[in-house]
Symmetry: C2
Subunit: 340 residues, 2 copies
Amino acid sequence: MSKLNFSISLILFFLSSSLIVSAQNIPGNGRISIVIHGGAGTILRTNMTPEKEKAYKKVLEQALRVGYKTLEAGKSSEEAVVSAIIVMENSPMFNAGKGAVFTNSGTNELDASIMNGSDNTAGAVAGVKRIKNPILAAQMVKNKSAHVLLTGTGAEGFVLKNKMKLVEPSYFYTERRYRQLMNIQKKPTGQGKLLNKNNDYKFGTVGVVALDVNGDIAAGTSTGGMSNKRFGRVGDAPIIGAGTYADNMTCGVSATGHGEFFMRNLVAYDIAAMMKYKEISLAEAADEVVMKKLKRMGGGGGIVSLDAKGNISMTFNTPGMYRGYMNEKDEPYTFIYQVE
Amino acid sequence: MSKLNFSISLILFFLSSSLIVSAQNIPGNGRISIVIHGGAGTILRTNMTPEKEKAYKKVLEQALRVGYKTLEAGKSSEEAVVSAIIVMENSPMFNAGKGAVFTNSGTNELDASIMNGSDNTAGAVAGVKRIKNPILAAQMVKNKSAHVLLTGTGAEGFVLKNKMKLVEPSYFYTERRYRQLMNIQKKPTGQGKLLNKNNDYKFGTVGVVALDVNGDIAAGTSTGGMSNKRFGRVGDAPIIGAGTYADNMTCGVSATGHGEFFMRNLVAYDIAAMMKYKEISLAEAADEVVMKKLKRMGGGGGIVSLDAKGNISMTFNTPGMYRGYMNEKDEPYTFIYQVE
């Protein structure tokens, strides 16, 4: 083999192995389990510092431990999902809750959704500006209203009526996110162009899927949406079937990525539908949807998911996805890049 | 057989035949076709007058003719869907556009969505108050933005920027709808209770699915939502996969009914997913989703749909659904009740 051919083979080998590793499938142990993500995108080692890596992993671990502890206490997967998402919403690291990106007009507009796989009930909020933990609001819509999706000031009125305290919009101000907005707005690019650039401030949605001691699955997702978004744009995070889905009979899924592709492809539900109708495994279904369908269309992003046996899939078609899982006491595993 | 047994058999026969008739499946002729609905619910002959029936059917026929003419002229199914929905949006008879119901606070907030089955692109608006034809706004989002769903004043800003004229909110005032709101608000019932009552002013969403000369399928849905709705509630109509879905490889679907059940079940996409993954027919898939799944959960409503061969299904689990189809020149067929 010539030197050139050998080099090409080597490159191909690494390319293919990196593709394989970007679908991390953990066999289920049939016990309580939790899997989380903190967004997918062009997350490269070259743009990271060891300190930054550590800071991200710390929050992921904390969220896993809080969620796992909830499950260990015999509480429901819905409660575990909410408790773990709150940890990430309260951290300024992720694009959800406190760390939400800014809209084009300098506001923060947050979306979240939750679904319970035991009875397929669901709740979501979109475009809220004064709710500290949107995932709690989504859960409130699910459990205290006859609705699935409440939006804007209407959603805020609903949670207020149900005795949730609102925060000042200034709660969501972080210098880092504001600087990101200023940087985007300085560039002479249209929104369309921005969409095609994989900057780290674009993604960062958080999501959790959990399996509790009763075998019930729940999934939830929370986001600040797209940085510099305009026109009341709503992405996949608050859309049941696109960003979030849960059904005990198949799986729970939380998605993250270029929302519009996830909406048009019903990514979260499609994985469940493939398991149900084609009778394939979670890993196969996630691979089909994320690594084939979405990739073909140019829809960057990923999902975390688990089924009733605790089989876990963390599958993404981008260079990185903040992610982790925990299905044994004191053993949270967290990852950032494709190959670790 | 005793007299009693005979009577019971007779009743069972009529019950079962009425159930069969509520799934109207028309074999495809492989040519241009259009199918529409104007909402499903407790539409009973006893509450109707011949004049009212005639008035509803007149608009349905007009919408079918306009849509069919668009297809006949060789234009796309997307254009046919838009043209037919505009006819129904401009009529005060249906709960969409001009005839939209009022929210709890006396405003009109409209939702619409459209999807093109040739490339799975989609657009939607939710909670808009000043757009005369929300289906045109949904199409504009699809064709002129990088987004799928724009909401509220943001969506209005987007269409304005793209040179669509806005109307005064008072355009949507109709005495009939306002009286309905007053009647609902007089009653000492919570929103939860209202949801469980099948009043004719609850439903009335409109939707169209069309197949054009190129074999492309498109689907669209438009609604004023639930009468007396609060908290920025958004139903299934603007949600891709719930109220609207189209894919040339399977089918196009527009749904109408108790939105929350349609969202949790991803009704429109689920029918397509069953055809794709279980390899069953459109009629079988529609029956499975609307007459079994939804019915079991108590989710009242229906769908109109067609596949690439022009096979049409109009399936609903309520006493009536305003509906019709046209797949031959000068022959629009319209229906209201289960048994006609």
